[in-house]
Point group: C2
Chain length 321, copies 2
């Protein structure tokens, strides 16, 4: 573990208001130390974002850092965990100036601060390309983590936010209708649903998952994880304005394509019918759009209805790396 | 967090005897979940290893994975922490077959198993080059983590293992005296000193650090961290056989060069004179070579004696990434 101080960032952190919670030993030693005195399970997740795959070499490092933090927080949210800290390892070619690393750290803090989640350490290395690996850890009351398994027949599937934005933005870029910058603004616009993850957990949701690999894939994970079939009403899935802009609402194939593309970092949860009102009220309190998109039934597979047609969502592709 | 199952590795893990401790939810969900029911502080560390910087593109991925795990465990050792789990994020170009990722996971497990430390999750992404980021976490009784600060005037500095191997091996490679494979065997030979880290902690060592960035740098970290001067007897520093082989024992400049090169992943600890016997006995029990290499004094700076000459070790270079 390289001290962030070696990046000249301990100073930056102080100046920016980024602050370590009391009792936390952050950057500057071989490891970070966090008091963990309550009876809470530890939830850990790691995500790698790489030049060429997730961002362009000339992307603003602050945006890249914020994205790297947000996608990790989204995984914690899907587990119903309260973020407690994050570490990040960054690599870049020798020709990349230290300011790039500083930008990454600034972006990480920007995304972490709203959740009182400190950047407790990191690593910085010469690498053949720009990459950032974030690892976030959070706490959840013992035995209460939300898994993909546990959904029950009759559970309603609810989804936060809106879908299809990143897929539609990529399509628009390829057709020359938006700039790279406009596309990346949609891709980088990740709002970790921490509050809703905790609300799902506290209202007794049976299962949850994040939709980073696409809505279809996320539905399949809950269905397979719980040994159930998923029926989804595709017309009830709220769409990102970019989907409308691309005219995809009236193009079933195109719509399914952007829904399969992923990149939304929203949450799906399986909720018992009689807990639904409480969950909707929690979403309302948080100002998070929450939609009822489907239901779980005995059986297997993921099917949707779109304009009266029955669609097999299991056939939608999914890149595993 | 991508389930390792998507790498086809959950099966591999089962076949290899890699096993999750009871109560741990490992790969296959948005995050790993570990029960953390004792009053133990959480210690977290992250390290990135990259093609070109740490290994050649054609390196055996099993060796690369084992190295990535070992360097993280070494940081936990330096904190006096008991390893509890690890996650790893791997990137490689699309042309790299899945077998490379499987080799990485196999290597990670190989290094983790001796410490009963499970690989609880990971991520796998397309990236412009081969990289592995490991993040390890461990437990330490509340308030007992070994930091760089805390050493006291009169403390003895002890060091595990032998020094100069990686630096001498690189020198030998550059001169054509060893093959890339022979050099990498020395570099990849990392033995995480977990048992000694815990022994340092339990015998009341005042400070500890790992020597990954070189002996000189590690001595400086303890000195600066504790506000003290370091006096080191360079002739008491045990040397790797490769250093002898390169004829560096009788070449003070060359010797200082390989000692500054780093890559040893050994531990330094600051121990009170009256705790020294207990520490040496613990090392003896563990079969770990432990040497008395220096002492801490009021003041600042890091100086060594070599053949009667006083050497300023503060001047030795140190690459910060």
């Amino acid at each position: 573990l390289m001290p962030l101080g070696e990046w000249g960032l301990v100073d930056w952190v102080k100046k920016s208001g980024g602050r370590m919670p009391a009792g936390v030993t952050g950057p500057g030693d071989d490891g970070a130390v966090l008091p963990w005195k309550q009876e809470a399970d530890l939830v850990v997740t790691t995500d790698l974002v790489a030049e060429g795959t997730h961002f362009f070499a000339d992307a603003d490092p602050v945006e890249v850092g914020a994205f790297a933090a947000a996608v990790n927080l989204s995984d914690l949210a899907a587990m119903g965990a309260q973020p407690r800290g994050m570490v990040a390892a960054c690599g870049a070619p020798e020709t990349v100036p230290d300011e790039w690393f500083q930008g990454i750290a600034k972006g990480l803090w920007r995304a972490l601060q709203p959740f009182d989640c400190p950047l407790v350490g990191g690593d910085m290395k010469t690498a053949p390309a720009r990459i950032v690996t974030g690892t976030a850890f959070g706490a959840v009351p013992h035995g209460m983590a939300l898994l993909r398994s546990g959904a029950k027949p009759g559970d309603v599937i609810v989804a936060t936010g809106r879908f299809g934005g990143p897929g539609a933005a990529l399509r628009a870029l390829e057709a020359g209708r938006v700039s790279r910058q406009e596309m990346m603004r949609v891709v980088f616009d990740v709002q970790p649903r921490i509050e809703m993850g905790i609300a799902f957990r506290d209202t007794g949701a049976h299962a949850a998952v994040d939709t980073s690999d696409g809505l279809a894939r996320a539905l399949a994970l809950i269905g397979q994880g719980s040994g159930l079939a998923v029926e989804v009403d595709l017309e009830a899935v709220p769409l990102h304005p970019m989907v409308e802009q691309e005219g995809l609402r009236d193009d079933p194939e195109g719509l399914l394509g952007v829904l399969a593309a992923g990149g939304e970092y929203e949450l799906l949860a399986a909720v018992a019918e009689d807990a639904l009102q409480e969950v909707l009220a929690a979403a309302d309190d948080s100002g998070v759009p929450l939609s009822r998109v489907g239901v779980l039934r005995p059986g297997s597979g993921v099917h949707g209805t779109l304009r009266g047609d029955r669609v097999d969502l299991g056939r939608l592709g999914w890149r595993h790396r």
